[in-house]
Amino acid sequence: MYCIEAKSLSKSYGNVTAVDSIDLSVESGKIFGFLGPNGAGKTTTIKLLTTLIPTSSGTINILGIDASRDPLGVRKKIGVVLQQPSYEPNLTVEKSLEKYGMMWDVDQKTRRKRVEELLSAFDLKDIRKKKNDDISIGQRRRVQVAREFMHDMDLLFLDEPTVGLDPSARRGLLDYIKGKVRDGLTIFFTTHILEEAEYLCDEIAIINHGKIIAIDTPEELKNKFGREKTIKIHIGNVENLSSILQGVGSYEISRDEGTVITIHSADSEQVLVKILQVLNSNNIPVDDLSVVPTSLEEIFLTVVKNSDTNSGVKT
């Protein structure tokens, strides 16, 4: 069952098309990653899906509700952590959580219980009595994300929730999200940190210039776009290496402590065999050999670059 279904979704501001006829289907109980460069249309898409702004065209169905007909009905069932900070400057951390729960009509007993749980889960106990104005940006972001778990929801939109968080807080948040998904929550997640998307997401869409340019599971994206493997060969310092390796294919040489030959192409294995043959025939020993797995970051860069090339944008 899909909890988000968007068809031919578009949003224009004058002559500028921020979101250009995209189709999205997000399965319930999954974490859906939504990636793209700055200004690609991620936040506008979230604002459309959360009914914050009206569509120019297209349809949105959230949790079985037509968003154009019953936007309030949609908002009652979702949670949203927007990209921009949001806080009440003169409330304490615990009061912020408590009041947010009250705004969502959560009963007092449940509110008290959840405040304690979230203060622990988000490592906010030490600053519970501090005002939002007096805490750091990262702590404020943690409060903002924690606050959203004060109320029940079926679907949570997280727009770059880890911005400003230190690595430990970031990992804590990602693990907390994973736990919530195991309990049945669906997450729509945007980030610029691709390791996060790789760690967290069941499915990923990449948007560029308002269009979805790739959508699949992280593994399938790697299979589709990750044909270019990176292999590194470490050898000692060798003079005239370039002339020795002439004609074996595409590679790069870097010299730091010793010499590293990096092969990065779709036919890396063939180039590797040729280089090893040449090194062997020249009695050059190999100190180390490593294959660098294709990361989502490389896939992302490849897909976005291809998209820019196809749409005539200089990169």
Partner: protein
């Protein structure tokens, strides 16, 4: 609880801190007790209907209107802070409509307006109790002035908060506009005897009408003119509230 009351609860929580209450008390107390007694040497009596009010009684009653106006700045500040700190968008992706957000601000300023009027009535009562003429219209007139004035000045503050983008601009405009309202009015001094241009300017200012209605209630001086002033207040409050609502509902996200 209804969504509007949940938002009112939240508005009151973020607005009513000790600093605000002190500000609401200290300002008028200084005006009433310092200016009131200091100016008594210059202004012995102020003619008001069939009565002659002493100046402390005159200014204390004027301070009720002044405080209603001052307290409704809260409305503009709530909207301004919500926009500045991202809460406006956050509320609108929550279980609320824009209409509910706007109405919650109206209720909030109404409550704060009544609270302020009650506070200053209590503080100023020792000064004007000799001249007070309680009748059936006293409470309705003061409540009417509190609510209409709160909506009117709250709408002005809301309009300013929706139109401006910088904190400096917001503070300068709010302070300038409210300074004009405060001192070009009959809150501090009577229109009679003022230079004609200033006297006319007094009656271009809604605070003058608000203060006149409050005084009419407290000193038992309800006349046809006061009735017209009430109509002006209602019309001005309705028009300004309409504009504020329109601007708020069109506010881009």
């Amino acid at each position: 609880m209804h969504p509007i009351f949940r938002l009112v609860n939240r508005n009151l929580t973020i607005s009513l801190n000790m600093g605000f209450v002190i500000w609401q008390v200290i300002f008028p107390v200084i005006y009433i007790f310092v200016a009131g007694f200091a100016y008594t040497a210059l202004i012995h009596n102020v003619p008001f209907g069939q009565k002659n009010l002493d100046y402390p009684a005159f200014i204390a009653s004027g301070m009720i209107g002044f405080n209603i106006m001052n307290s409704t700045l809260i409305s503009g500040i709530i909207i301004w802070n919500d926009r500045r700190h991202g809460m406006f968008e956050q509320i609108l992706v929550g279980p609320f409509t824009r209409a509910q957000y706007i109405l919650s601000n109206v209720y909030t300023i109404g409550i704060i307006g009544l609270f302020s009027a009650g506070l200053i009535t209590a503080i100023g009562y020792p000064l004007f109790f000799k001249s007070v003429e309680f009748n059936l219209l006293t409470v309705p007139l003061v409540v009417f002035a509190s609510i209409t004035g709160a909506i009117l000045f709250g709408s002005i503050a809301s309009i300013i908060s929706t139109r401006l983008k910088s904190s400096e601009g917001f503070n300068v405009i709010i302070n300038t506009v409210f300074l004009f309202f405060a001192f070009v009015s009959t809150a501090f001094y009577p229109a009679q005897g003022a230079p004609p241009i200033l006297g006319t300017a007094f009656y271009l200012n809604p605070l003058t009408y608000l203060v006149d209605v409050v005084r009419a209630g407290i000193f038992g001086n309800f006349t046809g003119t006061v009735g017209y002033e009430m109509i002006v207040l209602v019309v001005a409050a309705a028009v300004l509230f309409g504009i504020a609502t329109k601007l708020l509902s069109k506010l881009e996200i």
